[in-house]
Symmetry: D2
Subunit: 354 residues, 4 copies
């Protein structure tokens, strides 16, 4: 029997960290050997996450202060579930000591440090690592993930946008200009930040846009879209905060390359779009292409690593509307990170994600 | 002292009907003399709406079967809060007997019976009345409402879309083509329909699009936009169902007529848009133009007849993003209907809506 | 015409403060002349509460630093919506300068400073004022409120418990021992406290008890029950946190003085309880005694100053079950405080609370 | 390798049925061979439950009309997730044809047909089967479940009440008289019933009691309590409807046999209660005895087969307060039924429930 891979989570007390812990504890081929948290150092996983308190491993595993040496000793694969900017402090040293690093922050998602500076307001803290890092979107970077030492796991909004758009863009079915992504997120998307605007009584019975028109996630989305289109792509992106715990719903407004004013052209385009998605995702374990009248609903993906995708051609406006739903914490963060780990370690891609 | 105007509500047991009853009972210049409901005939308002059970008038006023003769005797102004198609049966006879009619259904919102047929799937039941009816959007049809016998009060989605767009379109600041309205609605927007998909456990923790890409409300929105643009307008409209009781949040993607790639052009356009909204709504009692960083939030309008509007120019995409928030049952239905009644009867426009 | 009474709110930026502002701005016989908040000093009411931003008074009235002299000059009646312990610093000086003070905190609700110390963990800061203060439960202390200089407005849980229990206790229909109050509260009951446990994602889809078995509110409830019973009363009280914005639902388990094992005894007791509630509340404008099969539902009282009360005798257990529903912020705090002000100032008791 | 046990679900389209399907499809030692539903006959599981649509088995398994012969051929263990009264029609014939039957309805939970009639209003349809059936509460009837042909899986409220109370009652630590259970349930507890009162806009922002004072579930709870106490027990039980999807929170008011007015007596009783729960549940995989300050929270059990239990002695009132939290659909219905199946089939008790 092969010994399990040892894993650690740095910054395990937020929502993504908790979900990572849940997934790794339930994974048949890995062991969770260390979890860190400055705030909860000394407490057991069971104390901090009562939901998992019956698991004997959660009763013995304690949060520790994050220290690179101990982490490198404890684990072969280290997940960073840290705020933007902090992850970069850990990634380099951990890589130097031979660990594989899967970072859930935005620190290594961009190739271009200039764009990082534009969107994050300061110089990138470790530009050399940007070249090494692989964007951890398994459906598109599977081969690179397999070889990577540093994986930058995509953000939740980017995942909900890129998976529906990339196949269409690569197939040349849509224009790379004029794209719009209108996204709705559950409140856990803000993390476990203790701020007035995320109090229950401020969010419940409320619907509101925010970060309009230049949300930070735009940088990584546009970089990926530009790579796929092989030309600079600018996206209109509007996030909204919605009173649900988990989930992202994205509605995309896209312009097909071909007009489809008459029925024949429309039928032909219908076929092409269907074939494009089928070719891209027909065998993907975590993509659900909806059929018939079905439209995405976050309640059908919450708690899973699945993305639901549906689309409609609108002959009246000449647009292609594509809609997607994911769990922002699973497929949008921790589930996708585990999916990348599975690829990296040569496990079945669905291991521990069922 | 002027005797109060007598009013009646036909179909008063739904959410719009209940809100109408609440508003008319609290209105200083009207009396509510009759409420009808086939389902609840014989019961008092107090029995059906426990919330209002302490009002002595609610303890005496009973729901009756809807009969045109009794209604015409009981009331000078009759509100129809009936399903689409049913309202038309009452409007004609009531008008013939001298009542003013304010209809909250979609039956008389369109001028063109052919469009009605296209969107509602059958011939219009009373096409002659379409010419007579006035679209009850007070901010734009105040003068006509004053003279009207039959007022077709706008739908909730249309209100949230037309109020932000019409001034821009009339001022020639935006293109009439390519407009997109992405809207989120609370579940009361579906009415008090007892259907599986509107059960608590089916809506809570769920976000989902529906009616994509050709929702019925498009017909009235496009007709009004076309009138304002003086050319046929086609709109992309995507409604979504969100787990809140009340509220509509709309995000509009619009193309300014002028490019604003450089800072000077952008500043000029900023000024024009601000002036346009100020000119249109600076003195409107129920329009709140947000300032500074503020963005619309449905929790700030729920329970009121107010619409919140904010906008942003996006130099990266060249678009104008306009966002609005209303209460779908108040400004989106019953509050706006009372606002029209106030105009019709010569009352202060804010009477009973404070 | 009588000039309006001038009022001020100290600590107006919390949920109770905002509700007070809403009620006082809508009150026909008062003027709101000052609002204080250390955090928001300098900003207008319109900026801090976007919901009220259209009111010209909200656009001009600015939050100021709380200073006794200015308050005493600006207002005849001063509302204190401050945390426990802080209110006492303002009450004395304001009284000395001739203001009437209505305090929404727990600082002056108890007569006995020893009980204050037991429950709040420190000496009462102004024990002399305890004798002067009147417990602002209008249905029971109307005459005293009329004469008071310092009114201690009851807490939300106490209101939901005392109104159902006091009439029964005073009439000798129930035993004063063994009473249990099981209460559910919406999250606004915790105030606008920015703490992890009140984040949306921590409260939504959660139901949980807290403060078991000795919640601070017990002190004032037991003091009032003891006064009514004319002997020391000990209450079992269990609060729970429920994912709604507003509302308290209380279920009371009471032991009738008389057994009612047979049908005749039960019918007799039914009549006595009904008469007792009718005598106590038949003419009260803010108490709704439910009839027939109806049971309280917070959605029927939220946004109002009403309490709903229903009761059932259970022949199987020999108990009397009484249930109540209020809005914790209105009848449970600010609405009730305004009701007291109406009594104090000789206004109709329902003024501004309709 | 042992071939998997074949299982079927009759009435698989409700919330319990869907959860059963989810659990059985994920169970390592069983196969789900048939699902029935009159309403959805002909459709696949994937079509009716989009959440599971990626599972190839869900894409091939179709709902069929419920027919005893086909069910008996298809399955060794048949789960009945049918309304009360309907289950009895299937249980007898299935047992006659050699199936094991696990019934999730209330039809076979009572031993005494007279009590059934009292609470359900009609004669029991198959009184002979009552003697055969075993009450499927694994923590107390493990040995009998192992031998049973017909298992009556407990209701959700009963589970949340019996697990905390039975050990105390059996140990003689509490009085069997005067017990009170105050319970809060999520809306899925009402099943997938399409009724006005369960619409989103009727439940959201609402808290309300119902079925006071004589809910049907009392019959099975009292029968089990009476068996444990060896004398007739009457319980006060008050259910409330709360706007969450899933979960039951129960607060129990119990009277210890011994007084504990002084500290020594209290410490002694503390120890006894702790030992009692430890003895009963220390090794139970699905019972979590909370420690320290922790109190139950439904969010920590939703989606799991776990019950959380905490308790407090209240020296002021002399009562023992016990609180529990479960997922009403999992531990309160389908999870517990699978736990019983595991015992019946000799599987590890946690199989498929992890």
């Amino acid at each position: 029997m092969i010994p399990p891979i040892k894993t650690a989570i740095v910054g395990a007390s937020g929502y993504s960290g908790e979900e990572l812990a849940r997934l790794l504890l339930g994974h048949p081929q890995v062991e969770l050997t260390a979890v860190t948290s400055r705030q909860y150092a000394g407490q057991t996983l069971a104390q901090v996450f009562p939901r998992h308190a019956n698991d004997p491993r959660c009763r013995s595993l304690r949060f520790s202060e994050p220290k690179v040496e101990s982490l490198a000793k404890a684990a072969q694969v280290v997940f960073l579930a840290l705020p933007h900017g902090v992850a970069a402090e850990f990634a380099g040293p951990l890589l130097d000591m031979g660990c594989k690093v899967i970072d859930l922050s935005a620190d290594f998602r961009l190739k271009n440090p200039a764009i990082y500076k534009e969107f994050y307001g300061h110089e990138h803290p470790a530009p050399a690592l940007l070249k090494k890092s692989v964007y951890g979107l398994p459906e598109f970077y599977r081969a690179k993930i397999k070889q990577a030492a540093l994986i930058a796991s995509p953000g939740c909004y980017p995942t909900s946008i890129l998976l529906p758009v990339l196949p269409l863009l690569k197939a040349g079915l849509i224009k790379s200009s004029g794209m719009i992504a209108d996204s709705l997120s559950g409140v856990s998307g803000a993390g476990r930040k203790v701020e007035l605007e995320f109090l229950f009584a401020e969010c419940n019975e409320s619907m509101r846009p925010y970060g309009i028109p230049k949300h930070r996630h735009l940088s990584e989305i546009e970089e990926q879209l530009s790579l796929a289109a092989d030309e600079p792509v600018v996206l209109q992106f509007s996030p909204h905060l919605i009173p649900v715990n988990r989930g992202i719903l994205t509605t995309l407004y896209l312009a097909p390359e071909k007009h489809f004013a008459n029925d024949t052209a429309m039928a032909a385009l219908q076929k092409q779009v269907a074939q494009c998605f089928q070719a891209a995702y027909g065998n993907e374990p975590f993509v659900r292409l909806l059929e018939g009248d079905a439209l995405p609903d976050t309640k059908n993906v919450v708690g899973t690593n699945m993305i639901e995708i549906a689309w409609r051609l609108d002959a009246r406006t000449g647009r292609l509307i594509v809609m997607s739903a994911i769990d922002n914490i699973t497929k949008g963060a921790s589930g996708q990170a585990v999916q990348s780990m599975n690829i990296l370690c040569g496990f079945p891609e669905t291991a521990g994600l069922g």
